[in-house]
């Protein structure tokens, strides 16, 4: 022991290298450690017992556990761009120069201003926030900023993460989660059978519980087994790798910590996130010790006995200089002897059993102190345990025996299997009465739990489990006799009446659970949410089973029948960086670009996402805003000539002898009669009669059609067609090919469109007779073969030009340069939207999955002379009733009025009375023709309201505007402009 490591013992230390001392800092103080230490073991060795403040009450907290179950010791690593909050000190290897900080304290850990909260615990019972801040909402606004500052864990990093992360996919025959003795034995047996094996272990070195034991033959077994595995080519050994999630059909996610975040970058990522598809899974994740409840059981210095045992043998660290041990089984005594041998003064073993038996008697005979039939009822001390108040509970009423001065209370309430992965895979759970714990029942999928993870705690038995599981043989019977006779910690009395914490991380006490039960919360899922039991980053690994038993006691049910909360991935926290991998920023998702994308970008177009596509929304010349730009673009189309890139529209080629028949079944209107070279607007319905998608169809040949559909609907329409061909009518001889990416498409629109088309397509007869509405012609444009389709979305004389996508950029550039003398204006989706709203053309804002053709004023399109998807449903009574919302146009009365986003429509102006809604605005825009706002709206029996004045209102925006209800076609109702 040295002055700087007062709790370091010469005993134990299997995992550390005592040949050199390194340094990291904790809140600016230098902490010495040996290579192999965790942050937790180094802090304990240095005597840093106070490591954090609790989540809600800011109570001082110390290190409680040894591994992933640790509820208290959450620390912040690094700073700035490499800051990681809420790192579990028990799982983080200590590294030289590491910068470690405590959390949730101000101004310092030892003098925390919010520690006063602890004094008012009485006013912060379960459900306090639900009860206090429900209403009025304005009150929450006042309290929120203070509560947010008081509660919580570490700070979220403010700087962008500069680290690299990777994702990998891999297959194997056997995945083994947990590299303790059972897992190692399983890996060896499976690998010897020639199977490909992945052995994943959360810590930097394998061995698990082997390292929590004194010298013995098991160490030789461990070293030989590990050396054997390292030599086998079919074994992948993964350390610092947590198995986080178990999904269907043996897909598991692994989080591998490759290096420290603030270490030199090099080429390796910080973390790798693995998706492993395994033939079968062996769960060897061990067991977790239960604590025992007593007043102030959260004081720094209170620790699980198994953790103290681990710190001694793994790291040569004493949990305290003068500990008291408290439990109810024989496992206490070897630990007491080991601590004594290592230099600690063991004050007493407090044994719940009134007759502890031979092992205890031998300990007494050797000079040890045992207080039988007793419990630790209260911990004394604040920032550090100073005494254990021991009460006798074996005869008569509980009474004080003595208060023992101590700096550590080591508690053992028995062990329960770590159930996370078994439960995530939806395996059954069984309540084991003698163990006082749930154990894995019938598994779901190709997996089995072995060793501690199924309640087998004896070392040789756990290894035997591993050998059997590795060979895919059936597991040995669980030996009932070797189990510790665990006390039921939830049954202990609370004679001092002090606060007893069940969930240390979330500050949930036993009386919170009792209160929740009294208030009628009897489902564990409800109690969890009401009290926040088990909702911390430790996922209630320690708190869950006890909280459950307390609820069962409070509601008079059996624990087995109270059930557990659902286990969800991840079993232990995984960083967002690891899950995202390389999918960040520009490569966050794929971007689909039109062939003219480079030109749009050169014009500083503002883009908008349409599915994966990006489309120019508007071209902000001279710093114009969105509103200014689209109004100018739309006006230019109506007055002269506009050009828009419509490449993103879905295009499907449908061919085959039965293509015409299939078209008739896909569209509610008649398509089979369409003549070659002609086009028609069509509506596809869902089988429930609602409009599914729309677009113009051209017949290219007797047995071939070219379909267009909406940008967003392209994928679903193709699937819909394949459903019709493969599921509904497999006898039809036709096939569909998605060709959206084959074609670059641009539309020209405006009074000058014909003259301009003649200039760019000199070989084409562009007259009304040569190219009437809804005709398709093939010609050459800019030396490229092109399809020209006369059709209009804007309501102007308009042509859509399709060329092979590879030539799109070339043709677009040619069109732009030729267009100069015609005043050609490129326009984006916003102007396109304004033009189509003026003309009453629908998009998915109107065909929103609720509207029928008749709702949209297109009822006459649905032919009843043939069977088409969705047509039969139109005759169902519900779709015939009055009161359905129908499409109308709205024209603002006041040219200066604004239509708000997300507006409702009412018959009367809003006063101080609520008004019933007639319906809602689906799309709106400024009409450059009518010089005011116009909108499309879906109003109840809207067609009967034509000519009436209504009010477009938004309570959220505080806006209301009077408007006239009109036909959806608000300009050029006779379509004269289409002729040009």
């Amino acid at each position: 022991m040295s002055a700087r490591q007062p709790n370091r013992s010469d005993t134990g230390g299997w995992l550390i290298d005592r040949s050199r001392v390194e340094i990291f800092t904790f809140d600016g103080r230098e902490i010495p450690f040996y290579p192999g230490d965790t942050v937790a073991s180094a802090l304990l060795a240095a005597g840093e017992t106070l490591v954090g403040r609790s989540f809600k009450l800011h109570r001082p907290r110390g290190i409680f556990g040894l591994g992933a179950e640790e509820p208290n010791a959450l620390l912040t690593l690094g700073a700035g761009a490499t800051l990681t909050p809420n790192a579990r000190a028990t799982m983080i290897p200590a590294k030289p120069g590491m910068q470690v900080s405590s959390q949730n304290r101000w101004p310092s850990l030892k003098h925390d201003a919010f520690g006063l909260l602890d004094k008012v615990k009485a006013v912060l019972p379960a459900g306090f926030y639900y009860k206090t801040f429900m209403w009025p909402a304005s009150r929450w606004m006042t309290y929120e900023k203070y509560i947010r500052r008081m509660a919580g864990l570490g700070p979220a990093p403010r700087a962008r993460d500069t680290e690299q992360y990777a994702r990998r996919n891999i297959h194997c025959d056997v995945l083994i989660a947990g590299g303790g003795p059972a897992g190692l034995a399983a890996a060896e047996a499976a690998a010897a059978n020639g199977q490909s094996v992945i052995l994943a272990h959360a810590r930097p070195s394998f061995g698990g519980g082997v390292h929590s034991m004194p010298q013995g033959p098991h160490r030789r077994w461990f070293q030989d087994t590990l050396a054997g595995l390292e030599a086998m080519p079919n074994v992948r050994l993964m350390t610092s790798t947590t198995v986080a999630g178990y999904y269907e059909h043996e897909l598991l996610t692994l989080s591998e910590r490759v290096r420290d975040r603030d270490s030199a970058a090099g080429t390796a990522p910080t973390e790798r996130f693995w998706e492993v598809r395994a033939g079968r899974v062996i769960i060897a994740t061990g067991a977790i010790e239960r604590p025992l409840l007593f007043a102030n059981n959260d004081r720094p210095g209170v620790m699980l006995a198994s953790a103290a045992q681990g710190y001694l043998w793994r790291f040569g660290v004493l949990a305290g200089q003068a500990p008291v041990l408290f439990g109810g089984d024989d496992s206490l005594y070897p630990l007491a002897r080991a601590l004594k041998d290592a230099g600690a003064i063991v004050r007493a073993v407090v044994d719940l059993r009134s007759d502890p038996g031979l092992v205890a008697a031998a300990y007494v005979a050797d000079g040890g102190k045992v207080i039988a039939g007793a419990m630790v009822a209260k911990a004394h001390g604040a920032k550090q345990v100073s005494g254990a108040e021991v009460w006798r509970i074996d005869e008569g009423a509980p009474h004080v025996q003595e208060t023992i001065p101590t700096d550590a209370i080591l508690i053992s309430g028995g062990f329960g299997p770590s159930l996370q992965l078994h439960a995530q895979s939806k395996g059954a759970l069984e309540w084991d009465e003698s163990l006082g714990a749930f154990v894995p029942g019938v598994p779901n999928g190709a997996n089995c739990s072995i060793g501690g993870a199924r309640g087998v705690f004896d070392l040789p038995a756990a290894i035997a489990d591993g050998v059997a599981a590795g060979k895919a043989a059936s597991l040995p019977e669980r030996d009932q006799a070797d189990r510790p006779t665990a006390p039921q910690p939830w049954e202990l009395p609370n004679p001092t009446g002090g606060i007893r914490f069940v969930d240390l991380q979330n500050d949930v006490a036993d009386k919170d659970i009792a209160l929740a039960a009294r208030e009628g919360w009897h489902s564990i899922e409800h109690v969890k949410r009401y009290t926040t039991l088990g909702m911390g980053t430790d996922q209630g690994k320690i708190a869950g089973p006890i909280g459950l038993a307390l609820l069962a006691a409070a509601t008079g049910k059996e624990v087995a029948k109270t059930g557990l909360t659902t286990f969800r991935p991840p079993a232990t926290p995984v960083t967002f960086g690891a899950v995202a991998g390389g999918h960040l920023g520009e490569v966050g998702h794929a971007i689909r670009r039109s062939a003219a994308d480079a030109w749009h970008e050169s014009q500083n177009a503002v883009f908008i996402d349409a599915g994966l596509w990006r489309r120019p929304q508007y071209y902000p010349s001279n710093g114009a805003t969105l509103g200014e730009a689209y109004r100018a673009e739309a006006a230019a189309v109506r007055a002269g000539l506009g050009l828009v890139d419509v490449s993103t529209l879905g295009k499907i080629d449908l061919a085959g002898p039965d293509a015409a028949e299939l078209m008739d079944r896909l569209y509610c209107n008649t398509m089979g009669t369409l003549k070659v070279g002609r086009g028609r607007y069509g509506l596809m319905l869902r089988e429930d009669g609602r409009v599914f998608d729309d677009g113009v169809v051209f017949r290219l040949a007797e047995d071939r059609f070219h379909l267009t559909c909406t940008t967003g609907g392209a994928g679903a329409v193709y699937q819909h067609i394949e459903h019709a061909l493969q599921v509904l009518w497999p006898d039809l001889k036709a096939y569909a090919t998605p060709v959206s990416e084959e074609w670059f498409a641009a539309a020209i629109a405006g009074p000058k469109a014909r003259d301009y088309l003649a200039a760019i397509a000199p070989e084409l007869d562009v007259s009304n007779e040569g190219l009437p509405m809804m005709r398709l012609a093939e010609t050459m444009i800019a030396g490229v073969p092109a399809r020209v389709m006369r059709m209009s979305y804007s309501g102007e004389l308009s042509f859509e030009i399709n060329v092979p996508a590879d030539w799109g950029g070339h043709v677009w550039a040619h069109m732009i340069s030729t267009g100069n003398s015609y005043g050609l204006t490129a326009y984006g989706t916003e102007a396109m939207g304004a033009l189509r709203i003026e003309k009453g053309h629908v998009t998915h804002s109107e065909a929103d999955g609720r509207t029928t053709p008749d709702d949209l004023g297109l009822g006459r399109m649905a032919s009843r002379k043939k069977d088409a998807i969705g047509v039969r449903a139109l005759d169902l009574p519900a779709l015939q009733e009055s009161g359905r919302k129908q499409l109308v146009g709205l024209v603002a009365d006041d040219p200066a009025a604004a239509f708000p986003q997300g507006a409702q429509v009412t018959a009367e102006a809003l006063g101080d009375q609520p008004r019933p809604s007639l319906g809602h605005v689906s799309s709106y825009a400024y009409s450059s023709e009518l010089k005011r706002m116009v909108a499309l709206a879906l109003l109840k029996d809207g067609r009967a309201l034509h000519g009436q004045t209504v009010h477009v209102v938004s309570l959220i925006m505080g806006v209301a505007a009077a408007a006239k209800v009109t036909d959806p076609v608000m300009i050029d109702p006779d379509g004269e402009r289409l002729r040009g």
């Binding site: 269907e248 429930d688 699937q719 493969q726 449903a873």
Partner: protein, 87 residues
């Protein structure tokens, strides 16, 4: 994540597929009464256990498949091309 054995592409992860609902429902004749159509459009069984259902291998061969799946355990039985089911 389930692994669905596509008869054309081999075993592939669930993310490549699109769910298509109950494979047992049959589209009625257009002349069938409203009740039969309402049943077809709106009502589906929600069985616990064995279920025959449609899956489209959308990120693969684009076959619609009839898959036998246990809704409790996710165990997958037979998988076949829906168009060959001859029903």
């Amino acid at each position: 994540m389930m692994l669905i054995p596509c008869p054309h592409c081999g075993p592939r992860p669930e993310t490549e597929f699109v769910y298509g609902g109950d494979a047992n429902v049959k589209r009625p004749d257009p002349a069938a009464p409203d009740a039969e159509w309402t049943d077809y459009i709106y009502f589906r069984d929600n069985p616990k256990g064995a279920h025959r259902e449609l899956w489209l291998h959308a990120a693969g061969c684009h076959s619609w498949l009839t898959v036998e799946r246990d809704t409790v355990t996710h165990a997958i039985g037979s998988v076949s091309y829906t168009k060959d089911s001859g029903e």
